[in-house]
Symmetry: C2
């Protein structure tokens, strides 16, 4: 899949995203062209989706994160519900899932009271029958992929 050099390159870019290709080649001890080729290949293959800015909702004032499980009325299906959910900015992501629920969404709010407003928006979506929300109190393991990259490189 990917080798050790790829993993080290991704790790380096993760630690210091603003450094260029030349600087990477110096730190990794390989030729400039090699780094460029690796980067191109990683992006072509979709391993690296992009270098978009990581926005922290909390810094924007949305300090509460929650996960809400939706039960959907079977007629109509998920798609129209998903479209309505996508129209709500506070819906950070939405998945269809196995198990008792039908969808799982990550949502944010400016506080617990504001979260209620967001939940109400979701409850009002046509096709949503029932919801169940859990609030994230802390995030001991923040979103990460680096350990996974290293694990993938080891194989």
């Amino acid at each position: 899949m990917i080798d050790d050099l790829d993993a080290r390159l991704i790790g380096l870019l993760n630690a210091e995203p603003r450094i260029g290709v030349l600087e990477c080649s110096r730190r990794l001890g390989v030729a400039r062209g090699t780094v460029q080729a690796r980067l191109d290949r990683l992006q072509e293959r979709g391993v690296i989706r992009g270098f978009g800015p990581e926005v922290d909702p909390a810094a924007l004032g949305y300090q509460v994160t929650a996960f809400i499980t939706l039960e959907i009325r079977q007629v109509g299906g998920h798609d129209p519900v998903a479209a309505r959910l996508a129209a709500i900015p506070e819906v950070i992501e939405a998945h269809t899932i196995t198990g008792g629920g039908d969808m799982l969404c990550r949502i944010v709010g400016r506080g617990n009271q504001d979260l209620q407003r967001v939940i109400d928006l979701i409850v009002d979506v046509e096709g949503v029958q029932r919801t169940s929300t859990v609030i994230a109190l802390a995030t001991p393991v923040p979103q990460r992929t680096l350990p996974l990259v290293r694990a993938a490189a080891r194989q």
Copy 2:
């Protein structure tokens, strides 16, 4: 919080991450120094966490995503469990939560069978009493923050 120019800047960087400060200033119709100052301020305030490479676990071979809810033995608390979870590469993120469960984690696996291996790793963590897993079948709303940025700018 943030104004319209900030939102447009983030939107621009999101759409085309590889463009530089100068190009941004051209597209936004403002001076280069302004873009630079805005970017610095956004990063200082933590609104933009960084520009790290976005890695797609699926492209690395981890094609199954799941959410696992953990019940933790109360003695000992969450912290030692979180530390053990952090040692598992397939644990993408972990939150402590309200409600029936104690923690919610996003995990990935190379397939359903491999996911079972990951779940077993988690079940074996000292202090974990019970787990409940739902698999993400599809992701109609992939992780995003742009709509939230625009919403924050409007206030």
